[in-house]
Structure formats: structure tokens, C-alpha cells
Symmetry: C2
Subunit: 593 residues, 2 copies
């Protein structure tokens, strides 16, 4: 380095006036004013204005060369700006550096898009030139927030006796849950490793080993079809504790989240966080991850309409379904066209067959789109149950459970967002508990674990495991923040027999269980402590804290929705000899582009 920096571009102030300094950085912008060249010099720490005056001809000539994104070193003197030139938007805005020496480390061609925030540039080109996108200050801020979050999270766990232990990335494929990423073994022909979907079995084994409290911030992998906010690789905070029950894991997690928000957002959320059973969440919010930043709870009108002459209502209720409504405050004046458009959107986004509304305003009184089929008393009773007053709107869906709950949940979120009912600065945490242990899959004609096969059933429900598995509650808990599921965990099974019973319930035969999970069952033979834990999604947490809209805003080098990295063009074809060494070949019908 020929001009080694003495300060960063975010550091200088009046304090250094008249000092000789060296700055290194990128030319963020250049202006020429009456022959004087002004450069905004940028690094991660800030921006400082550098001035090239005309008196040093050679230097000025060199400065003429400078273009945006050139990387330079400048030696110069810190000069106070006149009152009229102070730039309040810059931390260094009271000074500028009058250049005496200039070194150009690297020239730059015109970048494919401008390096500034809120640019209207396509996602594809931004991903292709990710290293340029990462120069934008909002993404850099997100990445720094993320860096600080790591330290805060680890400090918390390290300060509470948790041991950080690394678990393997090359592990056994246990196809239960999402699809594994596989890694062919060269030394063991025909055999494959899998990348971890989570270090679940390893952390349980660490408990069997007596590590007592374990944590790790770790990459996990799922080969799933990608939606907007999924990535093939994701980061989780992974935690496990011995000799604990639900309350211990929950309290420790709350402590960590509180510390994290304090450290990186300067916000201290109240603890304990609210808790709600899965049942209550579904009935009240129509989802197991309710956004509790706004109310708009679901009202159940089923008992009011079960004998109604409006067949859609009464037959739904008689078949065990639900007639549910939400009150949208202040929307009772909605017009005919608007409500029609709303119904179309609701049907499209929720999948509901139709939408009933009751609106109430000074001009029209009470109006309902099926008022000829409903008694006035019934309509009024529904308004009352929904807590609707003058100028409120009530939207109603009817259908089988649990679908109708989910449709209501989707509609509730639509309404909350549309009518700005959500406090964007709030952080609302909620624990959802008492999940069903298993769900029946009609498609596969078998039960699947709602969390995973290692989740313990609630003791009192153990008797029902054989005759009525769907009614058994698990000892699982999910942590929800602002309507996003940011983590989930459970008290685990630590008894060999119960674990075997669970596998059986999931249709995993004895031999198969032995083959896949034999090591865990074997480990339980030699003294396993009661234990439980949690895994928290780092990407999503940071996205929420950063106010980002997409996981790609908080991941340095993300993949697109085809699991591709547009920057380095991966995945890519490989040499035949690489495949030969791995004892695999492509299927015959694969044609290279």
C-alpha cells in the first residue's frame, strides 16, 4: 500500500483540523466547480469530501482522470468548511480534505447500475453483479446488522453456560421431512452423504453425552421448491438443553431475543412473551403464526346461524364447518363496486367460494349481500358478536374446518395491510403451543409429525396415541414475530420405547427406523437425560429487524428462485472425470445446454 490510510472515511471531524491524513476508498461522486474538483470518497464507514484545487497542476491533472467507483488513496489536509458549506447529512460534513497526493489503485468501468439506495434495477442484474449491489448502503447496513446480531446471540448463550459445538455437514440421509441435498462419496462407491436439514439428531446426542446446554449458529439445507422467501441454504440458531421443560427453553429464548433487540435495535421487548395454544391461534387469527401487531380477531357466528334459513350457513354448520367473520373498522361506507372487487380478491387469494358482508353506515343503515335470506335479528346478532359499530364492515366466510380458519386468516392479513392497521415499528412476539403431534396426509395416507419425529407427546395424551393420534398434543412450541414463524422447538422424546412408538405411528417400520435412526435409539439405551430445545431462523429474524421485504436483502450471496447463483453461474456442469471419480453418471435423457 503506497498511501496507507490514517483514518476511515467516516471518522474525520473538526478535531483533526489542519492534520495531514490519508484516506482510502471509492469515488462515490465527482463534481467540478470553477475548476476545483470535489470527490465524495466512500468506504464502509462513511463518506468524506476531498478537494483537488488548481494550484497543484500535476495533481489536478491526475484528479481529472477520476471517475465514479475508482479506488484511490489520497493524502491531504483536513480543512474546516465554511458555515455555508457544512453538509449536515454527512457525519464528516463539517470538514473536507484538501488533497496533496493521489494514488489510483484501481480504475472502474461504468457500473451496470448506479451504486445508490432505492434504485429501480431488476433483481436479475442485481444478483448477477451482487458485489456491486452489496456496495449500496442499505444492504451494507443490513449485513452489519446481521454481523452484530451474530455477536449478540452468541454472547447471550455463551454467558449462560451454553457450549458452542460444531456438528457435521456431511451426514446421513434421513428422508423424513424435506428433501435432502445429497453428496456422493468417492471413497465409498454408491454411497451418499446428505447435507443437514438441521443438526437435530446431533444436538440430541450431545445431550446424551452430557453437554447439558448446546448452541450453534449453523447453516442448514433443504432441497425444496423455492418460494419468494425460501433459500436452499439458510442459517439457524440451534439450541438444546438438558433437564428442562417447556418453560426453561422458552425463558432462555426470550432472554436471548430481548438481548438481541436491545443490542441491535435499541428496543427492549417485554417478557414473558404472550402465549397461545394452536387451537386458540387458529380460532382467533386463522393461522398458527398470527400477526398480533393488530387485533381484528375472528368471530364465530356458527351458533347464531346453525338454524338459519340461509342454507349455505346452516348446512355448513351442520356438517361441522364454521361461519366466521371479522370486523373491519371504519369500512362500513364501502361502495358497491369496491365491495365486488374486494370479494373477487378475497376469493382469489383465500380460495373461499364466496364472501358475505354486512356493512353499516349513516346513509344506508345496515346492508348485507344476503339480507333476504337472513333474519334481521341474526344480522344484528352477528354485528354485535363482531363488536361492529356504525361505519364498520363485517366480512364473513363459511366453509369446512380448518380451511375456513385459514381463509379467514388470509383475509384478516389482507385487511390489516390494506387499512394500515399494522404498526410497522412494533415487534410483537407470540408463543404458539400445544400443537397436534401429528397430521394426517390424505395424499400419502399416513401421519406426518407436525414438528418432527423427535417431538415428545404431552404426557396426559399418551393414552390416545394408538386409538386417536390426531388428538394427541405435542410438547412443541413455535415463536412468532410480527406474523412470521421465526423459530420452533419442543421437549424431545428421550425414551427408546416411546421413540419407537412414534416411528411406528408415522408408518416407519422397525427395520427402517433401525436403519435410519438406529444410532439415536441405541444412544437412548445408555442413559439419556430429559431434554428439549429450539431452532430459530436467523435470515428471517434479521429480515424483520432490518425491515426488509425479502430474505435476499439480508443474505450476502443469495440464490434465485431456481436455486441458482446468477453471479458465478452455479450450479454448473462439471467435468466427466469428476463424475467418474464419484461413481455416478447423468441419466441418459439429460442434455446439456
Amino acid at each position: 500500500m503506497t498511501l496507507k490510510r490514517t483514518h476511515t472515511c467516516g471518522e474525520l471531524s473538526n478535531e483533526q483540523t489542519s492534520e495531514e491524513v490519508v484516506l482510502n476508498g471509492w469515488v462515490s461522486s465527482r463534481r467540478d466547480l470553477g475548476g476545483v474538483i470535489f470527490i465524495d470518497l466512500r468506504d464502509r464507514y462513511g463518506i468524506t469530501q476531498v478537494v483537488f484545487k488548481q494550484d497543484d497542476e500535476k495533481l489536478h491533472e491526475k484528479a481529472e482522470e477520476l471517475r465514479t467507483e475508482y479506488v484511490i488513496g489520497v493524502k491531504g489536509e483536513v480543512t474546516r468548511r465554511g458555515e455555508e458549506n457544512i453538509n449536515e447529512e454527512l457525519e464528516t460534513g463539517t470538514i473536507e480534505v484538501t488533497a496533496k497526493e493521489l494514488v489510483i489503485y484501481s480504475r472502474a468501468e461504468t457500473t451496470p447500475f448506479e451504486i445508490k439506495d432505492d434504485i429501480a434495477t431488476g433483481e436479475e442484474i442485481r444478483l448477477k453483479y451482487r458485489y456491486l449491489d452489496l456496495r449500496r448502503s442499505d444492504i451494507q447496513n443490513n449485513m452489519m446488522l446481521r454481523s452484530n446480531a451474530y455477536q449478540s446471540i452468541r454472547n447471550y448463550y455463551n454467558g449462560h453456560d451454553f457450549a458452542e459445538v460444531e456438528t457435521p455437514f456431511l451426514m446421513k440421509s434421513t428422508p423424513e421431512g424435506a428433501r435432502d441435498y445429497l453428496v456422493p462419496s468417492r471413497v465409498n462407491p454408491g454411497k451418499f452423504f446428505a447435507l443437514p436439514q438441521s443438526p437435530q439428531t446431533y444436538k440430541q446426542l450431545l445431550m446424551v453425552s452430557g453437554f447439558d446446554r448446546y448452541f450453534q449458529i449453523v447453516k442448514c439445507f433443504r432441497d425444496e421448491d423455492l418460494r419468494a422467501d425460501r433459500q436452499p441454504e439458510f442459517t439457524q440458531v440451534d439450541v438444546e438443553m438438558s433437564f428442562v421443560d417447556e418453560d426453561d427453553v422458552i425463558a432462555s429464548t426470550e432472554g436471548m431475543m430481548q438481548q438481541l433487540l436491545k443490542d441491535v435495535m435499541d428496543v427492549v421487548p417485554n417478557t414473558p412473551f404472550k402465549r397461545m395454544t394452536y387451537d386458540e391461534a387458529m380460532k382467533t387469527y386463522g393461522t398458527d403464526k398470527p400477526d398480533t401487531r393488530f387485533e381484528m380477531k375472528i368471530s364465530d357466528f356458527s351458533d347464531l346461524v346453525e338454524n338459519s334459513e340461509f342454507k349455505i350457513f346452516s348446512s355448513t354448520v351442520k356438517k361441522g364447518g364454521g361461519v366466521l367473520g371479522i370486523k373491519v373498522p371504519g369500512q362500513g361506507t364501502i361502495g358497491r363496486g369496491a365491495i365486488d372487487r374486494l370479494e373477487e380478491r378475497v376469493k382469489k387469494e383465500t380460495g373461499a367460494a364466496g364472501m358475505i358482508y354486512i356493512k353499516q353506515n349513516e346513509e344506508e343503515g345496515i346492508k348485507c349481500n344476503v339480507e333476504k335470506f337472513l333474519k334481521e335479528d341474526t344480522i344484528k346478532a352477528m354485528l354485535e358478536k363482531a363488536g361492529a359499530e356504525m361505519n364498520d364492515l363485517v366480512l364473513i366466510l363459511a366453509g369446512p374446518k380448518p380451511d375456513v380458519y385459514k381463509q379467514m386468516g388470509t383475509m384478516r392479513l389482507m385487511m390489516g395491510k390494506e387499512h394500515n392497521m399494522i404498526d410497522e415499528d412494533a415487534f410483537e412476539f407470540l408463543w404458539v403451543t400445544d400443537f397436534p403431534l401429528v397430521e394426517w396426509s390424505k395424499e400419502d395416507q399416513r401421519y406426518y409429525a407436525m414438528h418432527h419425529p423427535f417431538t415428545a407427546p404431552v404426557r396426559e395424551d399418551l393414552d390416545k396415541m394408538d386409538e386417536d393420534p390426531a388428538s394427541v398434543r405435542s410438547r412443541g412450541y413455535d415463536l412468532v414475530l410480527n406474523g412470521y414463524e421465526i423459530g420452533g422447538g419442543s421437549i424431545r422424546i428421550h425414551e427408546r420405547e416411546l421413540q419407537q412408538r412414534m416411528f411406528k405411528l408415522l408408518g416407519i417400520g422397525k427395520e427402517e427406523a433401525e436403519d435410519r435412526f438406529g444410532f439415536l435409539l441405541e444412544a437412548f439405551k445408555y442413559g439419556a437425560p430429559p431434554h428439549g430445545g429450539i431452532a430459530l431462523g436467523v435470515d428471517r429474524i434479521i429480515m424483520i429487524l432490518a425491515g426488509g421485504k425479502s430474505l435476499r436483502d439480508v443474505i450476502a450471496f443469495p440464490k434465485n428462485q431456481k436455486a441458482q447463483s446468477l453471479m458465478d453461474n452455479s450450479p454448473d456442469y462439471v467435468d466427466q472425470n469428476q463424475l467418474d471419480e464419484l461413481h455416478i453418471k447423468l441419466k441418459n435423457n439429460i442434455e446439456k445446454e
Copy 2:
């Protein structure tokens, strides 16, 4: 948890006398003495003695059931031990807990090996039951040392403005260096990801993005034939800095290592660490990773013997080879048989064709196994150059360079270990610098980068890149601790043209370079800062600090030398439908066991 612990098993002392406490843990041992049952209860934090007296019959009966490795909860009263019963080896040795209540959480079958340190159990069975091996206190201590080391390392970098950024695990295969682990893509038929051998290109791109200082503790992967101290996945501290030269990276690394040793070993090594060029290291110690905990430097006798009548010496020197020796202090009295056995071993372990010795003792005077071919003056001159005195032994090898250096290096280490010349408690750091940029491979008839293709050449040597590449020095540096290479780094190339020249020198054609590293070359177009960094091997560092003999001592779930995990039997065969989805099939000749 029915008996929730109030204290850990390492916590109680006289301070809690008479308090009612609850402990949870494993039965480490049980003794029955006059009807009273004594249990050593163990958890990660320590061991506490629990006493079941006979007065509570039911409790005593339950305690009768207890066997080694049962997991239990005990409620009881802290009782001071009598003077004569104090166990000074236990932190909790002044007290015991008189049990009042007992819960058995989990029973244990007899473990395949005893849970104690220094057991003589085969590696295979220990790896198969790794979760039991991990119960041993020496491995637990290693893992806790490792956990503390992570925090220390991160605190250092975080405290010095380094941003922690996660880089992708699913990346592009760039077969330059070791073999990649490949991951077939389901969504992109026929294409593959590779697991990172290091995040090298990503961290350089982060510098191009202006992150300025980056660090990460990260898993890396190499599909190499495994030797005793290699693992397919390993952990490195990965660091990169912008606007720096060698001294900056070295100083920052020394600061980290100093902090680490202070935090986890309570030892503060002096900085700056010693430095030595590659040339000097090879000539003085016969290796580029010298163990400088002991002297025994190599003496070069070539000029003394180039005209010797002993043809082996003179012809070696004339062909450009070397005649080198080391002095082994105090071994001048070695007998005929011992020296013959030594020669055999030296030949076997170093690959040398033969060994010459000169010994000197009171009884025999000066003796040399080829004294009839050598002048007495020459022998004396060699003794003098080696600094040998009465009762010292000088061992001499002759051969072509650099082989003879390497053979000397191996022999030096043999002698150092054999004669206890190594201070096992010392931590001797050494930087090795000025490596050759490239090495010629006779086998492949091409140059390979000595570090990697992104390492910058020394500026002054740039001219020689075309006509005499082998003489060009790189700006690389290796950190050596006690004879282990624990890290390596360099100042990188940040100029597109120079990088292209380097690829060309390595025989990577323009198209191939574009295909593999086009994104990096492209990135250098848009303003790249001068930058450099280092990667440090965490597993090896922890192994040295823990005084371990094998990497397996400091990795929670290691693989064996066939890259297998004996515990969960991975890698393993997978279902055909998994392969189908990935568009691959096994080669025809693979037969499943």
C-alpha cells in the same frame, strides 16, 4: 421435569450447608458401605457425592436399583463431610448431599466401554459410540476449550471492526487445488454445486463490495485421501482486509492469536512473532513449517566436501545437491548397534539412501562410518561447522535439493522427539514468508500455484513471471505453531490483467478462466481495492492448545480415515427415487453390499 435442579454437580460447597437442593445428572459410580449407598453424580460441571442412608427404607430400596450411567434427579440436604472424608480431588469434596427423594429419568445398559479418561479402547468402538466417548472428561474439556476459543476469536475480530459475513456452501465447482465435494442440483438437471474448499473468491468479492474487513469461522470441505490428521470437513477462521499489506494482516493475526492464548490458555505469547523466509526455513530446518521449540539447525557441509575423495559427497555437490548435517547433542557415545538401527530408521522414514555419522567421545575419540574416505581435516571442519563438541553426534545426509533438505527436516524432528529436546508446554510461533509463487509439477508438466491462483507476486519479481516463473516470490505467508502449519494467507491480486497473466502461467486458458472465474475477473473491472487475508485452521489450533494427538480429539463427530461416520453409518446407500430426482444414476459396475 419432576425434580428440577437447583444447582449443578460442580457448584455446591460448605456455603450451602443444610440447604435443600436438587441435582440432576449421571451416576458416575456407586459404592455400598455398611448398607449406605454412595453415588458420584456427574454432569458437565462436576461431580457431587450423594448419600442414600438406610433410615428411609423406600428411598434406599429405590437407590438399590441405581447403576452406572443411570440418569437421575435427587433432592436432598447439603451436609458437610467430616475432616477425614474430605475429597480434595473434587471441587465439591467438602460436602455431600444426603438424599431425600430420587427420580430415575433413564436407565442404562452396561456401556460398551467405561466412561473414564485414558481408557484403552479401540478407536473404532469409540467412534461408533461417539456419544459415550464424548462423556469422557478429557474430550468434554477439549470441546469446552473449543467453545471458548470460538468466542475469543470472534470477540477479537468483532472488536477490530471486522464484519462477520456468511458465504454460501452451495457454490461453483472450480477444480483447481483439491478435489471438490459435489452436490447434484434437482432443479437444474445435469448441473452440480460444489461445497467450498474455502470461501476465497467470496471474501475477495466482499472486499470489492467495500466490506473492508471480513471474518468468519466457517466449515470447508476437501475430498482428499485422508491421512491421520485430515478430515473431509474442517473449520477455518477466514479473514480478509482491504487497503493493507503483509504487515497489516500479520499484525492483526498476531493480535488475535495473542488474545486467544490469553483467553483460553492464560499464556501471552510475545509479539511480533519471528519471521523467516521460505528459503531460510528450508535451509535451516529442512521444512517450510519448522518446529522452533528446539534448535538443532541444519549445517551445510557442501563447500567442505565438494572436492572430497569421497565420491558420494563430491559428486552430490557437483550435481548441485547438498551435503547437510545436524548435531545431536550428548549422543556422541552411541554404540555400534544403536547407530545401525538409527540408520535403518532414518532411511525408512526420510527416504534417504544412506546416513553418514561422526561421533565424538572420550573413549573412542572421533569416529566416522566413512572415515577411510575422508580427510581428518574435513571431518574436523564438519564437526566445527556443526558446532559439535565432546560427546556430540553429527548425522549427515547427501542428495539432490530440495529432497535432501526435506530428509534432514524429517531426521531433525525424529531426533528432537527422541531426545526430548521439545518443550511440550511452549507455544512457538513463526511466520514463513517469500514462498515461491508457483511450483513445477513433473507429473502434470505444468505450474501449480504454491498457495492459490489469487496470490499476488512480489512486485519486484513481476518481470520474471514469463521467463523464469519458478524464481518469482509470492506475497504469501504461512503461520507455523510448534511445527504445524496453522494458517496461510497472502496479499491478493486485485488487477484483472495480472490475474489473467497468472491463470495463463498456470495453464488455465482464457476460455476456461472465463468459465470458472469470470465473475471475479468481471468484478475487478469495477474498482477493486488492494486486499489480502488469511485462513487459519481451527481444528489444528485447538488440537495443539489441547495437547491432543489427533484432530479427532477436538471434533465432536469426526469421520474415520475412510471418510465414514461409524456412529450413524454414513455415507450410506440412498433410495433410488432420490437419485432419480437428482437426474443421476450409479455407474453400472457399482454393486451394493
